[in-house]
Symmetry: D2
Subunit: 483 residues, 4 copies
Amino acid sequence: MALMTKDDYIESLRRMKKRVFIMGQQAENPIDHPLVHPSLNACAMTYELAQQPEYAGLMLTTSSLTGKKVNRFTHLHQNTADLVAKVKMLRLLGQMTGCCFQRCVGMDAVNALDSATYEMDQSLGTGYHVRFRQYLKHVQEQDLVVDGAMTDPKGDRRLKPSQQADPDLFVHIVERKPDGIIVRGAKLHQTGALNSHEILIMPTQTLSEEDRDYAVAFAIPADAPGVLMIYGRQPSDSRKLEEDQFDVGNREFGGHEAVILLEDVFVPWERVFMAGEFAFSGLLVERFAGYHRQSYGGCKTGVGDVVIGAAQSLAQYQGTDKAAHVKDKIVEMIHLNETMYACGIACSAEGKPTASGTYLIDPLLANVCKLNVTRFPYEIARLAQDIAGGLLVTLPSKKDFANPETGPRLEKYLHSVAQYTTEDRCRMLRLVENLTLGPGAVAYLVESLHGAGSPQAQRIMLARLADLEEKMRLARKLAGIEN
Amino acid sequence: MALMTKDDYIESLRRMKKRVFIMGQQAENPIDHPLVHPSLNACAMTYELAQQPEYAGLMLTTSSLTGKKVNRFTHLHQNTADLVAKVKMLRLLGQMTGCCFQRCVGMDAVNALDSATYEMDQSLGTGYHVRFRQYLKHVQEQDLVVDGAMTDPKGDRRLKPSQQADPDLFVHIVERKPDGIIVRGAKLHQTGALNSHEILIMPTQTLSEEDRDYAVAFAIPADAPGVLMIYGRQPSDSRKLEEDQFDVGNREFGGHEAVILLEDVFVPWERVFMAGEFAFSGLLVERFAGYHRQSYGGCKTGVGDVVIGAAQSLAQYQGTDKAAHVKDKIVEMIHLNETMYACGIACSAEGKPTASGTYLIDPLLANVCKLNVTRFPYEIARLAQDIAGGLLVTLPSKKDFANPETGPRLEKYLHSVAQYTTEDRCRMLRLVENLTLGPGAVAYLVESLHGAGSPQAQRIMLARLADLEEKMRLARKLAGIEN
Amino acid sequence: MALMTKDDYIESLRRMKKRVFIMGQQAENPIDHPLVHPSLNACAMTYELAQQPEYAGLMLTTSSLTGKKVNRFTHLHQNTADLVAKVKMLRLLGQMTGCCFQRCVGMDAVNALDSATYEMDQSLGTGYHVRFRQYLKHVQEQDLVVDGAMTDPKGDRRLKPSQQADPDLFVHIVERKPDGIIVRGAKLHQTGALNSHEILIMPTQTLSEEDRDYAVAFAIPADAPGVLMIYGRQPSDSRKLEEDQFDVGNREFGGHEAVILLEDVFVPWERVFMAGEFAFSGLLVERFAGYHRQSYGGCKTGVGDVVIGAAQSLAQYQGTDKAAHVKDKIVEMIHLNETMYACGIACSAEGKPTASGTYLIDPLLANVCKLNVTRFPYEIARLAQDIAGGLLVTLPSKKDFANPETGPRLEKYLHSVAQYTTEDRCRMLRLVENLTLGPGAVAYLVESLHGAGSPQAQRIMLARLADLEEKMRLARKLAGIEN
Amino acid sequence: MALMTKDDYIESLRRMKKRVFIMGQQAENPIDHPLVHPSLNACAMTYELAQQPEYAGLMLTTSSLTGKKVNRFTHLHQNTADLVAKVKMLRLLGQMTGCCFQRCVGMDAVNALDSATYEMDQSLGTGYHVRFRQYLKHVQEQDLVVDGAMTDPKGDRRLKPSQQADPDLFVHIVERKPDGIIVRGAKLHQTGALNSHEILIMPTQTLSEEDRDYAVAFAIPADAPGVLMIYGRQPSDSRKLEEDQFDVGNREFGGHEAVILLEDVFVPWERVFMAGEFAFSGLLVERFAGYHRQSYGGCKTGVGDVVIGAAQSLAQYQGTDKAAHVKDKIVEMIHLNETMYACGIACSAEGKPTASGTYLIDPLLANVCKLNVTRFPYEIARLAQDIAGGLLVTLPSKKDFANPETGPRLEKYLHSVAQYTTEDRCRMLRLVENLTLGPGAVAYLVESLHGAGSPQAQRIMLARLADLEEKMRLARKLAGIEN
């Protein structure tokens, strides 16, 4: 089957029968809901750009499984060039949408499962890898959006899955049947869930033997029986419900997050990729986290480009772009943004093949990348707000501009540098508000902090990966200490 | 007249005839509009606490003008103890409301005008000071809320007032009459304008001779003919319009900002405190800014206490409060918050009397205070979001909790540590969202950046006030350099 | 007896018979040793300024014990004005010497012991306080330098005193006799030990019952039998031994640290202020640490003034002082320096009386002060090095300037802005080197980090003092959470 | 000719007749001077490792000019793998020496000149490129150390070369002769000058037509007639002159910097690579700076590994390595160090071929790399000092340990965790002192700040390279702004 166009993609979602609740009501057609539609546009951009010749080189590649042309979002990385291309593709999409376009979690999940199932099979004699590749061929050929689902509710953070008061606080196998398994639980923070064809479930942490039933990975259609999704609110989300969406800031694009409930969902064996092999849960989690920490060196720097561009635009519109301190702040924003990008590139360029042949990023540098992403977008956002000025949060509503009594007055008093219009100034202010305090801040700030693991998760990995013993040996040698 | 109770205050506002537009419509009774009402509650807290014995010592004091008991918000600082008490009062109110309570701009304006008019009269032989004190007696006796209004739209930032394409982009005198002046222009970012009895207008920057007509300071009733206010939107403000305001986070309290238009407003001479004395515009601006930069060492640390308390609560609710990295983050938040407070206290304790007898903060330290406030709340907010976790921005709406199909499911899956309820966890998440990404972030973050002048304004003052010559002399002496 | 002049002071030290080792050799006359002499000058400045009318108001005060005029370094703080004056005095001395002038540890120790002995007596019925005040009168009347000695070697940091392999790794009582006690142990990092008349020993941490013999505080003359001091090296210290001390940077002033060994030293009971009351060890340590953390808001900001002045001078000498980025760095240095000062002032202004009547700083703010001091001088030093340029560490030696072959060549090529001499430029470079990489960096950087307790010690105190319960209560109230 | 061994290299330097002044005296045999010898060892390591099989893959490569095996330090980068290998080689050498090993400036200079001469010839019809490659073949075949010399004294920073009071403050052509040119001037901060065979001179900044004679690049033997070098002092350098060099910290390795004077030096035309082509001065400077900014992502992270290893060792020796805050500081050090490395790798992996075929790093990312290097080593050093404790700057001298009276006492009192010796603890403290406050800090800190251009130089490049126009276009598109 051919790659889907944007329209094909949207149509394919419309054919699905997802059970979705949005703001307290079941949605007939979730992707057309105004709260969701901008996120559909963002995800659809991964199809749209793939059809455009100038981006095809980045967006498309040749499948290692089928030899056919596939969207890079469904591809297994075959070399470091693939890993680098992924980062560049994500930066491009961040630039184009100014938000989270949602499709990378699936890409990161399939790459992680590819090597993890291979190594699990090698070690335990299981047969997951062939099964997984079969599934992935289907994804590639159908050009599907896969929601890679990892984060369980986790209940009391001090307790293991089986120690929780409620056994369902982590997704687990409730029954093993001849033809498949029955699973129950929930996944939180599911980015773009409503725009997905498939959900690929993985465990959320390293598990030990008593939590064997929680060591489960599998794929289901996003509208499988027993699946229920609940939309998660975002700051200023209801501006998308207003008649004129001017005040949204980024009208065309956005993101969404959802809670996914799995209520005794049946998964046939051919879609099960781990079922009890707890000893490989940690490996799978680390592989996925590693890829996903790399991702943020791409997408967030793309959004960062938009934030910088918006700040510089406002400086021009307001006549401050030549001030030394404004120029210096813009340089600082660039510096921070490119530092994150450099980390994304570096962990890709230093990637290595796994046993399955699929390439893995350098895990130390990928964690370094993400740890910077938990800090720098916040400072970039602060600097953007500094340049934007207080009007960012005191600007009257679009309705006030539309009102014939107040509109002309606002027009008069908010006009700044002659050659730019008041409207353009206001549009740009709303964009910065969106990205730093509105729905865009969900992706640009809080997701930068918590997505792919909170900062402490990266710190734990750094401690583990940094080879302190070798560093101590170097120091002892120079200090003249024997042995 | 006696001090007003909270109810008196609200009643007094209801009697006013302000012309206010909110979201495109003229409001009949602006203070009862759900977008405004929380801000009324916050401002009313300055009356409410003054009636409570345990806070009266901080909230009330004896007027230096009348010898009668007055609310500290209308008081002229008589000594450093008054300056310190102001900071503590503001911290208390920040703790009680978790937002901006709006009344300090007026307090800072009257203190600034007191010494500025005195020195102006001494130097120029004008008669503003007596007139001003007469006005202030009225404010004290009526226990009024004064909106201290400074920031003009400023148009093209590179141009002086009279160079702008439109002469109205800074407030100015359009006509001088025997009984008063006619003024025109606008003031932006007017915190709490709708809750004010009075507006006290000051120029926004140092002016030179050609901008003489812009050197104007005066007081008007907030409902004077020709005054028009337009409400400024805030992130997630429309949640206040939802049936159940659970998702607002801080339901009872909030803030608001407005554009104030002055359309040929008449001001009688007894309410005019500067009219052309451009040489004193800079002094007045600096005095006001100095007091207001001190203020932020109080109010923002009070809100900071709430942010810290909310983060620590969430850590408890989620079972992470004993983790070393969480404890360390809480300590860092405390450290940053108390550093700002220390600067607020220091610039107060080092205050000095001005010629009029009214005490002024130490201007160098007040600028240091504010410059820290442009940075630290952002880091405190980031750390709070770190501790809160991703649910901060993926939590479904209150309507989903109310829906019988989804409510119990969310209840089940979002329950964490046994002894705390899911609802309390959600309430606390919404509070952190409010303070760091919602309407509360307007006051806690962006106002911290831009209120009382953007960071560069403080840096310019530091360069001017730091006595570099003396520091160079010290260095030369130690380096053994002759003179 | 009258207050000592600088010369009296030096003479009084010459009369002592301290047993001191410097660089492997016993020193006949330690204070005249060129490695030590600059530190003597710095300490002597506390006498010298006290004799100068313009500083007498700050340096001298009236003893609460005798009603006589005393040097403030021997005074018990009687009110917050005294606490504030202390900070200002320390800043002045930092400005005058550009280094550590050593006398504040004794001041902080006597203030701490005053209230601690009082409260200990109240609680336990002991009689230390009267005895201590008697001793302090002697110190005041003789105008002595007291070395407040706290830090024990501590051996293995994981073990308590009595658990250490060697019982002497903390100072302890080895014998109790009718007329006094015999003590043994060592104190590290003893700032200015060689310039002291007295040593006032305190325990270094909170102790429990099994470490009762380590709970000991007492005073001894610095040349008591059994006392031995070993000079601690400092970066570039041997430049002080070179013929021409040009390359030292700060030729006149410096600091020193020493190890003090106590080898079965006898202490008569009238000089013993704690002997086994382990329950009060923590209180005493906290009091001393609190005062000493306040101190750093004074002395280090004084040195900071010199660093800033030196950087600004170099910018002038090299023609970069008008560059926007240089001006901005100078402002940042000022900002950081004044933030520390503000914390020093704030914890003083918020001081409270203890039961003995002696005033104590606000402990929370004093810890905040010191925690900032563990960070900001490093950034100030980095910025100074940025402005100074690479010549800071590539400048040839003074001997090369003196050599007739190389001197004129260096003179030619290192000349910069016309009106300043090459020599002055070099002097200033050496001063910055001294303060950021040389002996001055011991006091300005490493002592800022570790003196009065390493950063983690402050963090532990912040966690303890911040009243998190109250902050959580505030958050719950705003979030609408019952109880 | 074969590659040189370490001994060959040292012998080859002994045969040279450099005119060198060290601490006021002309040195007979500079490389054997104890102040210089450690730096010789460091530079010699570039020969030594090249002979060791396990490092040969990194240290050696095949010349693109001769097809023969050459030391990578003399190689023209042929692809991104070469650029990446360079960074890894530099990190290795930083790890092995804990200091600056000096040979990369020459490597960076030859790579810069290769493409710059090519493009100059293409544009102007000059014939420098062939000449340059001929010269480089000689360097490769003789396996020489080249000092790449860029920084002129610059006099008054506000003035151009020809505007200076003294025309010699920038290196310039004083005479053009049939067989060559006569040059005069000086170069400051010449790292490793005394260990070099060759000096490769380049202009220090972009020049315009009136400074045509300053646009000069050429190579000379380091002992050419008219060349004179003066050693630059370093903090604590004279510890290297002490009998027992224990207190140096890093006894075997170090660095040095020198002033190089060129006093009417004759350069034959075949060694002249630019002589008046001012329009290409900027390009050459940028190319060199670009490569050199990449370098710091390698060498400084290697030294960083040593600093981290030393800190972790001290934590173990002192019993604090299990403390949560110490572990967290180590993680932070790793994070900062690897962020710099990531930037070094990224700008290499993203390198592109120049017209001459030689690969150039990505200039934006190389500037980002260096700008991080101007900050992070300072914070790493601060954290190392935090973990090390105050003994870092209060430790008595080795002579005190050797003295039979004081040695056993110090041994007793400075012993910490049982299984580690006091001596090892002291060695490690001296190593940290060396790297953060001693001679090692010259390379690790100040050179990180100023080498390859001070921070502002990188900021200017970031502003120029970041394509703000494109970022503004992206923002406008998302904001819905036409055009």
